[in-house]
Amino acid sequence: MWQSRDNIYIIVSYRITMDADLSKLESNLGPLALKTPLIAASGTFGYGPEFENVTDLHFFGAITLKAVSLEPRPGNPYPRIVETPSGMLNCIGLENPGVDIFLSEKLPEACKYGIPLIANLVGDRIEDYRKLAEILDRESCLAALEINASCPNVDHGFLTFGANSAILGELVKSVREVTSIPLIAKLSPNVTDIVPLAKAARNAGADILNLSNTFLGMSICIDSRKSRLSRDYAGLSGRAIRPIALRIAHQVASSLEIPIIGTGGIYETTDALEFFIAGASAVSLGTVNFVHPNRAKDICLGILEYLDRKNTTLDRLIGSYEGPHACETF
């Protein structure tokens, strides 16, 4: 029994008496088998414990951990976020304690939840990513490695790796050589045509593509005439980007064969369904976690209800886009 317009709350008696049968949500993302097609997006979910007692973590098929680099990164100066219409800009700057603390403290803590974990790799040079992959390849509780070639908030980010097919291909190939763990390439949407980059990543050995990351944006304080953030430009996320992210996911899905994680402004069940229809095999939840930290549960239950109502399966839904709207002919 539902209350409110978007399945936010389930009344208490339902919570207590019902169990959710999630088996219909099992999703194959290439070599990665997920119990649900929802993935927590890197940087929006910390390492997991942050959401303990707030989120029913088991509704996530996987959790992508906060980005990890070889050395600790302090992140960008204050201020780092500003809210914008239907979204937010951030310039966190990949703050993280480095791979040593990641391995000794963060990963063991995240592992205890028993949910597949994805490490999100960042570096300034191809060698950094390769070395990280070599180190993380030995970690049994990591289900996949995600190459973050798309962060807009650091000086060596998407401009270095995410906007040039040849360099992106070289990066993915170099990482692929040292690991057999499923490899995800998270691409930048801040390019004229993402398809050549997607092809380069796939041809270099990426198993899965994550499409995509935040969009470069800007916000100016009209009193000081300065940026509201500690950088000129920052990454836009939230509902505002969803139609663009959906278009990107569809463009790639219709151009090449590779499992896709759809990412960008997914807040509701219907948003996730649009991405599946466009060709994504799984979707990431990012900014919505800040507003509705337990939304993964609502979306899982919403997808089940939709599949039931339409008498279909997730497999059949994925990539079932029927093309442009056309008037019925009589």
């Binding site: 389930i10 019902m18 707030v54 204050y78 507003v291 337990n294």
Partner: protein
């Protein structure tokens, strides 16, 4: 696979008991009380609750410091000022409505009972000091407490009734409108002055400065910076409660991080929502904010 639908502990649907518009005395300010036994049971002064402005909007949650709790009745009170769309939506909640709240979050003020306490509050930084004051007084250790409140104008001085309930009168500093402030607060204040809140440091007694009073401060960042500077120069311990824009409020996004000094003088970042919002002022790199 069967997954039990467990009940979240910290995200709660809380019934609004009342949401009182404090105009005309303090226009734009509302006092919200919600039925939230879990929060009332667990909250400490300086902690905040993270309120979803409306289930019908996309806005991020709004962090608001806790002003008071009644652990017997499970009631939690906050006082907020409407400054944008989020707080405007919260102000529309009516008695009986349900608000989606996560909390209590963050680390509160240390309760130090063997030294005099001086509380500095500016604008909407004043309400959490009412909670702190109650804890200090309820400690039963006879802590000497002085309250100093400041604002740009008299109508932004709030919560006087709450302090007088506990039997304490504050010293008040307004940047303008002294005559009006004297008229408004004459009998509720110990003294009323025109000037910045930091002028109060000149009025502190020897006993407060020599016995090493603990300074607690909550208010806008320029005020906290000035209070911290003055306190640390006098050799006083100072704890500041920082406000910042938050996204998750849970420590995951690192969006609210502020610069904090290392021992070697370098800086690193700590989260207002997790390590804060209360920080030892000597650690905060105010010059980098």
């Amino acid at each position: 696979m069967k997954v039990p639908l467990s009940k979240s502990e910290r995200q709660l649907l809380c019934e609004v008991v009342e949401n009182v518009d404090l105009a005309p005395e303090t226009p734009g300010h509302f006092r919200l009380t919600v039925d939230a036994p879990y929060i009332a049971e667990n909250a400490a002064p300086g902690q905040f609750i993270h309120i979803l402005p409306s289930s019908e909007s996309d806005l991020l949650r709004r962090p608001i410091s806790i002003m008071g709790i009644d652990s017997d009745s499970g009631i939690v009170t906050v006082l907020y000022r409407v400054i944008g769309e989020g707080t405007r939506l919260i102000s529309q909640a009516e008695a009986g409505d349900k608000l989606d709240i996560i909390g209590p979050l963050g680390n509160g003020f240390p309760i130090i009972t063997d030294k005099p306490a001086v509380l500095f509050g500016g604008g909407v930084g004043i309400p959490p000091l009412a909670f702190l004051l109650k804890k200090l007084v309820d400690s039963g250790k006879g802590v000497s407490v002085r309250i100093i409140l400041g604002a740009r104008e008299p109508e932004l001085i709030i919560c006087l009734e709450d302090f007088s309930k506990i039997g304490l009168k504050p010293d008040i500093y307004v940047e303008s409108g002294l005559a009006e402030a004297k008229k408004l607060f004459g009998d509720k204040a110990l003294s009323v002055h025109e000037g910045l809140i930091t002028c109060a440091f000149d009025e502190l007694s020897d006993s407060e400065t020599k016995s090493g009073a603990v300074v607690y401060a909550c208010g806008p960042i320029p005020m906290l910076k000035a209070v911290a500077y003055k306190s640390l120069n006098l050799g006083l311990d100072c704890y500041v409660s920082l406000e910042n824009k938050l996204a998750c409020g849970l420590g995951a996004c690192l969006g609210c991080s502020i610069p904090v000094k290392n021992d070697d003088g370098d800086i690193h970042y700590e989260r207002v929502c997790r390590e804060g919002p209360v920080f030892n002022a000597s650690r905060v790199a105010f010059d980098k904010m």
